[in-house]
Amino acid sequence: MENKEKNFISAVVYIRNNQETVENFLTKLHGALSGLFERFEIICVDDASEDKSVERIRRYAKERENITLTLLQMSHFHGLELSMDAGNDLSIGDFVYEFDSCLCDYDTGLIEEIYRKSQEGYDIVAAVPDQKLRKSSGVFYTVFQKFSAQRINMKTERFRILSRRAINRIHMMNDSIPYRKVIYANCGLHTDCVTYHSSVSGLQTGERREMTEYRMNLALDSLILFTQAGYKISVRLTTGMMLVTLICALYAAGIFLNGRAITGWTTTMLFLSLAFCGLFGILTIVIKYLSILVHLIFRKKKYTYGSIEKISRE
């Protein structure tokens, strides 16, 4: 009892229509945290649930004494990323757990394991189920990694822990956090993950349609914001088109030299080819400008570092 951890812990839980699972999840979470930590708070971020989730949370909190539970209700559906940002901003812990869902397909001992791992010197530690990926997730991660400048090994994460230092760093670096996973991976601090055997066999099914749409949008946004995908694809396309127009020009010139051209056709063709060629060139430059602008607006700091170590002294 006296050996409990002294660090103050915040646990941020994302709630979206979880009336069936939320009480059970909170009970498990509270059990795990109270066994491990002297002081902690739980923040439930309710993303405008339409069912009785909020009632269930209230009932849960009322039935217990000595529980610090905050309910943060979003005014309308914001989606996972923004809601969790809000929860994080409200948290005051030295370490913050982020539970992206009420799905508890792990042994609660994992909550401690993740914390212990973070104490070994990792600012962010994620719990990764050994499930097969969703097909859509797999495609997204592959495309993302192909076009990303950094080597990020992206996996489906069930929950994670962050140090206050990491949160401060992330706030310093970014004005907004559209997709936490990438920002966290890019923050330059030590990160790690713990893989566990998921008790849920196979893939979850029955994901709500709004969630699928949300994830699709998020994936597109992330690709544009965090990777060179847009730029690279458009540069390749424009270079290809420029080549095609040049071939067109050559073809027109060949016809003209053979003397089989109708009057005016060659000029038209040459003009069209060159004009398109120039247009594609300009487009490439515009896209380059845009990608630089996005980068400048989006990132506050130009570089990130892991640590500073002085290894020699005069």
Binding site: F8, R39, E41, D89, L90, I92, G93, D94, N168, H171
Partner: protein, 375 residues
């Protein structure tokens, strides 16, 4: 025994009224439940002499506070500590106001506010604006001594402590008060200045209670490191915190919107679970002193410390000294617009029964009119 005025409660409102009436030559009596004056909310609070900064959503409250600020500081200068920099900052997230709005508000209310660099006090990205303001803190114990000394030299003012009221009855043109020790007192003018016990007293005359909720609040007193000594910091407007000098004690008070209230009661009379544990000394009909109660809650210091340290830069550090507890009644109507009006309610005219409820000390002058009987 008959008195011109009987005042219930020896807090700032009670002793101010006694002093005010005694100066006018009236024969006054103050009845206090506790053995000493200033034992509850007058002492157990942030000790802020409000200039109005606290109410960015209620210009009326702000303007009024500012008006009384000068007068209070002048009248009671001996208990004022103004020797520190008071910083107000607006939190970047979850605030009901922002830096620009706050500045506009200060200009509208005509109170001093000078923008300073928030990075000097707060971690990056936590606050979107910081302001140097002019606000002071008062020392309740010095103020108490002043009132006691003043009242002592007057023959026409009397203070009784440890008095438990049994009943209040109207008889003819006067109120008849019965105390547990058997004395019977008469007065044509009864002032109820008991703050958290106000509805309990009102109930004794079957008057209309105030629409209030009750919060059991903890004021944490801290020892601060050198860098914080000449500094008071308030982050607003929402679930944030405040750390500022506590009168002239050399300690700082630490409070937060979320962790300062430990328990809340929405009943007309203060009804709490701890009263059942405590036994007879405290009940919904008669509140004991939370500060001396054995059943007072465990301190929320670890929570408040984390909240404050999340915002403050590393050099501003503090440690726990001790806690003070008191019951706070909050008018239900003032939740949305943040206003903190002084409510003076005249329940009956002759004999007169008047209740006063206010959460700020420098609006004590609001009482002048009703105390001078409309002269």
């Amino acid at each position: 025994m008959e008195y011109d005025k009987i005042i219930l409660g020896a807090g700032i409102y009670g002793l101010y009224s006694a002093d005010f009436c005694a100066r006018r030559g009236e024969r006054v009596l103050v009845l206090e439940y506790d053995p000493k004056p200033f034992s509850r909310a007058t002492y157990v609070n942030q000790a802020r002499v409000h200039m109005g900064y606290h109410y960015p959503r209620s210009l009326a409250t702000a303007v009024k506070s500012a008006g009384y600020f000068e007068r209070f500081v002048k009248d009671y200068h001996f208990c004022i500590n103004g020797e520190f920099e008071q910083i107000y900052a607006t939190s970047r997230e979850f605030s009901w106001t922002d830096a620009d709005e706050f500045q506009k508000f200060c200009e509208a209310a005509g109170i001093f506010c000078q923008r300073v660099h928030e990075g000097a006090y707060f971690k990056a990205g936590m606050c979107d604006g910081a302001f140097l303001t002019r606000e002071y803190t008062y020392d309740a114990m010095l103020l108490k001594n002043y009132f006691l000394k003043n009242l002592e030299i007057r023959k026409n003012a009397e203070l009784r402590f440890g008095v438990k009221l049994q009943s209040i009855q109207k008889s003819g043109g006067v109120y008849e008060l019965h105390t547990e020790d058997g004395s019977v007192l008469y007065t044509p003018f009864l002032l109820n200045a008991t703050y958290a016990s106000t509805n309990q007293i009102i109930k004794k005359i079957q008057g209309e209670p105030f629409p209030i909720k009750y919060e059991l609040c903890e004021i944490i007193l801290c020892q601060v490191q050198e860098e914080l000594k000449g500094l008071g910091i308030t982050v607003m407007d929402g679930p944030f915190f405040s750390i500022m000098p506590f009168g002239r004690t050399g300690l700082h008070s630490l409070t937060s919107v979320t962790f300062t209230p430990h328990m809340t009661c929405y009943e007309s009379l203060p009804e709490f679970d701890c009263q059942k544990r405590e036994g007879s000394a405290c009940s919904p009909e008669s509140l004991g002193n939370c500060n001396h109660c054995m059943e007072r809650p465990e301190t929320a210091f670890p929570y408040m410390k984390n909240l404050a340290e999340k915002y403050l830069k590393e050099q501003y550090r503090f440690s726990y000294h001790h806690s003070l507890f008191s019951m706070k009644p909050i008018l239900l109507a003032s939740e949305i617009d943040d206003s903190r009006p002084t409510v003076i309610r005249v329940h009956t005219k002759s004999p007169a029964f008047v209740s006063v409820l206010s959460g700020k000390i420098n609006t004590v002058y609001d009482l002048d009119e009703v105390l001078s009987d409309g002269e």
